[in-house]
Amino acid sequence: MRTPWALNPRRLAAVARKEFIHVLRDPRALGIAIVLPIILLMIFGYALTLDLDRVPLAVWDQSRTPQSRELVSRFEGSRYFNVMAMSGNYEEVSASINARQTLMALVIPVDFGRRVGSGRTAQVQVVADGSDANTTTLALSYAESIVRTHSMEILGEKARRLTGHPLTLPLELRLRAWFNTDLESRIFIVPGLIAVIMMLITALLTSLTVAREWETGTMEQLISTPLRSSELILGKLAPYFVIGMVDMLLSVLAGRFLFDVPIRGSLLLLFTVSAIYLVGALSLGIFISAKAKTQLLASQAAFVATFLPAFLLSGFMFDIGNMPRVLQVVTYLIPARYFVTFLRGLYLKGTGLTQLWPECLLLVAFGALMLLLAIQSFKKRLA
């Protein structure tokens, strides 16, 4: 009795050869397979920065004193702000925020210079556009830190004048961010991005292959032959696996040379685990394709089943720790989560299997499970 798991190498090779021909004779599909990941990497890599700098700022300096100009120059000197407009009244301030020319306004009251000069507490006001809460929160914290630092300097200057010694603070905070010294989000985003893109591209590519054969009628012919589902599925995987690995290589190269993201871990481990992840993602696409039976439905299902969870629930964009409990549990089912963790660990910290073995093990389980599902789901029967 023949089982669907038994393999005939000759039939497997025949299917693989045929699939390679399909891919190579369709330059458009091949172009998409190779170019799309690079375009996605560019778009997301450049546009999707979580850093905030050069916040457009309006300044309304009513004091017009050396003290107020000193504070303004601190904002001008910071890379986080860019003084776009000097306003003369509240109307101008609100007009420039409404027109989205500026995101924030610094309002210095008339008595600012006098109060600072005489050593009393002076107030400054920061008006911010609260409609974009994320950006504004960041910008406000930058503004607060500039004002606080400037305030400490004034205090220090005063102490030195009075006592002849510079002011010594009782506590001093020294910040040091490991693995990403400049806290650039690019370095953090690119590895995660590779995981998301690989998932999307591969599932999209394979989601069409089985459905296409059902649509064009070639499947009816195929299932009337002794071909087994394992031979068909593995044969179909072969060319897309090669394309996927080429995409992976291109993404890694682009990350290294275009985005300057260093790879601190082992390249061998990187590509081995990527290959496993790829088998899982490709099989998921085939599984969807075998179930959907039409190309349109298959590609839509593949998009929803891969891109959205990989993008939203993998920890790539949003920190899993901040998600509601229920969603956190769901993320354990998203293989991209483990691949994102793996890639970040390997890229940024250079960690290897000693730390990342649970992720790697889960990815192996994912790959094997999806492959089994894909083979099992394919039935050599109509209707």
């Binding site: 000759r10 039939r11 045929k18 021909i21 004779r25 009628g217 009816e220 299932i223 050599k380």
Partner: protein
């Protein structure tokens, strides 16, 4: 020995009974034609026999193997050509054949000779390197046949193989089938063309999932009770409607001629002439003719309207 046998083979799709209690036996080396209009259940029968569709009830055996329990073993021994062109348009003629040769594990020894012979006998040799998608309809069918024959099957299932193919290619195609018959290949072919059905050794008339008749072509023709009269007259369309309104048998219009099935020749002749005379339609000729399959079909299937 029976190569194909079915027992009360039935397939339902929801409420629709696509195939109803089919009992059939096809002898080895026969060309058996399954004949019927679209929607009669021909394709369903093909799919049940090739093991790619499961019956709702009943059983079938192909070359001694059970169509459900031993479906995969059957697939080694049969060649199947589905109704739609089932080959890859972006592969060349030879790549398509090679692909199927590999799927069927055609032994390396003698393989090239076999493929060359298939190409030659289907006149495809000059088009070996042409993409299958760029072939004409008739050549596509011949390529499909070559792929289905590459492993020298014992039984060949052809689902409306000459549908939409020009008459010359159709003749070529049938010449190939006769050659195969010489090699004792059993051929199970479905068709909606009655002239094509006449080329088969035996035929089964299928209508709405039921087998209406199953015999040799002459045997099926003999099922026709009575005699067939061919009427030639003015305004045949109106005449046919008038004749149909009488208690005469099957009335069918073939171009400008009317075929009327009558139980008795002389009695029928008189009745027809009376009807035409009453309406003032001049009659140019009235003669007894040999029934064709189409006549059998129209009389066997009264529900199908022929205008």
């Amino acid at each position: 020995m029976e190569t194909v046998r079915t027992r009360a083979l039935t397939r339902r799709f929801g409420d629709l009974v696509a195939l109803d209690q089919l009992n059939l036996a096809v002898e080895e080396g026969e060309i058996f034609g399954l004949v019927g209009p679209d929607g009669a259940g021909k394709t369903t029968t093909m799919r049940l026999l090739t093991g790619i569709l499961e019956p709702s009830s009943g059983e079938a055996w192909v070359d001694g193997l059970h169509a459900v329990r031993e479906a995969e073993a059957i697939k080694d021994r049969i060649g199947y050509m589905s109704q739609r062109f089932g080959l890859y348009p972006d592969l060349t003629v030879i790549e398509n054949i090679d692909f199927y040769a590999d799927l069927y594990e055609v032994p390396k020894a003698g393989r090239n000779e076999r493929i060359e012979r298939l190409l030659a006998f289907s006149n495809l040799t000059p088009f070996k390197r042409r993409l299958a998608g760029n072939l004409s309809g008739g050549m596509k069918q011949k390529l499909g046949l070559a792929c289905a024959l590459v492993h020298t099957p014992r039984v060949l299932f052809l689902d409306e193989p000459t549908n939409g193919v020009d008459p010359v290619s159709r003749r070529d195609f049938w010449r190939i089938l006769y050659q195969l018959q010489q090699e004792r290949v059993t051929i199970f072919v479905s068709t909606a063309y009655l002239d094509e059905a006449e080329r088969c050794n035996r035929i089964g008339l299928l209508h709405r999932g039921r087998l209406m008749a199953c015999d040799t072509v002459d045997g099926v023709k003999g099922l026709l009770q009575g005699a067939l009269l061919e009427v030639r007259c003015d305004s045949p369309r109106r005449a046919a409607i008038l004749l149909r309104a009488t208690d005469l048998g099957g009335v069918a219009l073939f171009g400008d001629r009317i075929h009327v099935l009558v139980p008795d020749i002389d009695q029928g002749r008189l009745s027809i002439e009376a009807v035409l005379r009453a309406e003032g339609i001049p009659c140019h000729g009235l003669q007894v003719i040999e029934p064709s399959l189409e006549d059998v079909f129209t009389s066997a299937i009264p529900a199908v309207t022929h205008v």
